[in-house]
Each structure stands twice: as structure tokens, then as C-alpha cells.
Amino acid sequence: MSTAASAAPPATRPVMEPVPVRVTSVSKETHDTFTLTVAPPPGDPVSAFEPGQFSMLYVYGVGELPISISGDPAVRESLTYTIRSVGQVTYQLVTRQPGDFIGVRGPFGSSWPLKEARGKSVLIVAGGIGLAPLRPAIYSILRHRGDYNRLVILYGSRSPRDLLYRKEFAAWGLLPDTQALSTVDYGGVTWRGHVGVVTTLFRLVRMQPKETVAMICGPEIMMRYAARELEARGLPPEQIHLSMERNMKCGAGFCGHCQMGPYFVCKHGPVFSYPEIKPYLDLYEL
């Protein structure tokens, strides 16, 4: 076997086999949320993702979790994940040091309908860490700005200290034909921004509902209310898309842990159109 042949990444790989990737940076976004960047092997299919897809991240000897990819899809040299430290595996992920190795499987799942949205306005509605899976879509739209009309980004968070990507978000709001509004559920008296749930921002949006594609990601309750409200405001339901979360384990629709009605969220989702997923939104997750 030649050296060159052994260094080339495989075109395909067994779906359950993690690729060892080197951690290049871990940066703090908020008091409990961090952005982890890893360097996959050059040319490896693990880095070829569409906005909205997720990877399975494996901390060797600890466990594996589905994490949405939050970086720029045009950058193939690295993969970026924004992770909230809420448990053992996420804690281990965000406390990795540059040079450490973790395992990555994927990318998995469906993606945001960026092709269908061409020629239309795009309304991004994010809640909490739900902004992370939407950020690659925003990067992609900004990279192909001429293909879309208005871009509106609405972002709700628990409190000012929980807002992600603050500088980047402020910069988006300064771009032409772009509106970026954030709101928090509770503000301290020094907070000068909006306070209220993210749906209260809808009345401040300037766009034609019939010519708009909405992409929503956040806590399921927030997505339900947002989708209902957008439908009431005239957005055709098939132009509303949601990213769902369930207990994803295998990432390929084998194990059934993430079943939601007739769908496996890891394979048929996580991005669904509203009419597809609406009948199952009220089902209690066991």
C-alpha cells in the first residue's frame, strides 16, 4: 500500500464509525455555552455538510451526542459546533483542549430549504441555542445574497447573558435588506433591548408573507407557537420549516430512539416542513 493511498479519506465510511478529529479551539460564548472547532482530515466527507444537519460527537470513553453544526458550510477545513454544557458529555466536550481528539460521525439528516427559498425573503426565527443550527443557513444566504430578497433574523433568549454570537448578530442587523432583532424573556433594568417572547417581534417584521420562507429552531413549545402565529399572519404552511429534536442515537434511522410519528428525526429530519410535522407536535415524548 502506498503512503498516498493510505492517507486519502474514504469516499464512504461505515455509518457507526467515528472519525478522529483534532480540536483546534474552544471559545466561550456565554456563561454555559461554548463553540468548539475541530479539524477533520482534509477532504473527508465528514466535513461536507448542508446547513441544518448535525453530527454525532463522541468523547472517547464518555459518550456520544447529536450536535448541530453551527459553522460556515463553505469552510471545509473545519467543523464548528456550539454546545451548551448541561451534562457529562457536553461538559467533557467543552473542556477539551486544542490538540485533543474527539470522534465525529455524520453529517446526518435533512437541511434547511435554501434552494426553495431562492427568490423569496427568508425569515429566521431562533430561540435559545436554536440559533446555532440556523447560523450555517444565515452564512449561506449571506454568501449568495443576490439569490434572496429580505433576510429577517428574530432571536429570543432567556436573558441578555444568554444571547449567542452577540457581535455577529449586531453586524447582521447592519447589512442591507437585513433585519436582525433579538428579545429576552427577562431583562435587568439596564437592558435597553426588547423583552418578551420571540413571537412578539413578528409585528415588527416587514415582508410579504406569501413570498417568505420561514426557518424556525428552538424549544419545541416556542416553535409550535411561532409556526401557528406565522400561519395566522399569512405564511403558507408549506413555507414554514422547523428543526426538531429527539433522542438521536444512531443518526441513520436504525435504532428508532428518535421516532416521531412515522419519522425518524435523525434520518427524515431534523428539518421538516410544518405540514409534515404538525400532527406530531403535540405528542408527548417518552
Binding site: S68, V86, R203, I221, M222
Partner: protein, 158 residues
């Protein structure tokens, strides 16, 4: 503000969208323009409810005292309404309203609006239907806020 301008401004406000012109005329006779400076308190928790406002410019924080601190639970701005409780009788303010920015608004004496509603039930129906929609919207938003959906337990992918 000139009467003709007052009518134009009232007609354009979302709260009165679709209100028949004769009722806009009635309201325009009650309305008066008010201005508040940044950080000025419009009313405090416990104050008797008296004025109802349609906000034209600026931003207002509704604040509530919590142990050891004051928190903002909602912000209101152009196109919003403030002081709906003044359309009810014998009520007092539940929150403190403080201006985050200089505010311009149209104010109405709530008792006089209610008297007009009593005198003309069709007008009353229009106003109370709008008030009910406003209260329902605020209730829905407050319910969502109390669910604390962004807390770690309710978070999306970690």
C-alpha cells in the same frame, strides 16, 4: 396635534385598524398627545388605572419588583398599547412603566372611553373586542414566558 392629523394617526395605529370612521372621530375628541423623557416613570405598581395610551414612538419597559431587584417583563413600542386596565373599573396598575427611550403617545381618559362604550354599545363592542384581543395576546406571551422554555431542561440540542 391638529384634529385632521389626530384622525390620521389614530386610523394608522394597529389597535384601531378597521374601526369605522365615526368612532375614530369620537376617539379623536378624547385623545391628547403626551411626551415622556427617557427613564421617566409613566406609572408605578399600585397606582390607580386612569389613562390608556397608544404608543407612537419610543420604547417602554414594564417592570416588576422581585426580591432584591427590579426586572423587565415586557417592552412596548410604536404600535403597542399601554394601560389597558384603565378600560376596566376600580383597577390598579400591576407593573411599573418606565421609558427606555423618549416616548410620544396618544392618551385617553379610560373612564371617558368606558362611558362612551356604555352610551354606544356598538362602539363599546369594537373597543372591547380590541381590548380582549390585546389582553389575550399579553396572556399568551406571559404564559410562554413563565414556561421558561430556554432553561437548560427545556433546551434544544445541548
Amino acid at each position: 396635534m391638529a384634529p385632521s392629523e389626530m384622525k390620521t394617526v389614530l386610523t394608522a395605529h394597529p389597535f384601531l385598524e378597521g374601526l369605522p370612521e365615526k368612532y375614530v372621530d369620537m376617539l379623536s375628541k378624547l385623545a391628547f398627545e403626551v411626551h415622556f423623557d427617557q427613564d421617566e416613570v409613566i406609572f408605578r405598581e399600585g397606582d390607580p388605572s386612569s389613562l390608556f395610551y397608544l404608543i407612537l414612538d419610543g420604547k417602554i419597559a414594564l417592570e416588576m419588583g422581585a426580591p432584591g431587584r427590579q426586572i423587565i417583563i415586557q417592552t412596548l413600542e410604536a404600535g403597542d398599547e399601554l394601560g389597558w386596565s384603565s378600560l376596566l373599573e376600580n383597577t390598579s396598575k400591576q407593573f411599573r412603566a418606565r421609558c427606555l427611550e423618549p416616548v410620544r403617545a396618544l392618551a385617553f381618559d379610560g373612564a371617558r372611553v368606558v362611558n362612551l362604550c356604555e352610551e354606544d354599545h356598538e362602539f363599546g363592542f369594537h373597543i372591547m373586542r380590541r381590548a380582549l384581543a390585546l389582553v389575550a395576546e399579553r396572556l399568551r406571551a406571559t404564559r410562554l414566558q413563565t414556561l421558561d422554555v430556554y432553561s437548560p431542561k427545556g433546551a434544544r440540542r445541548p
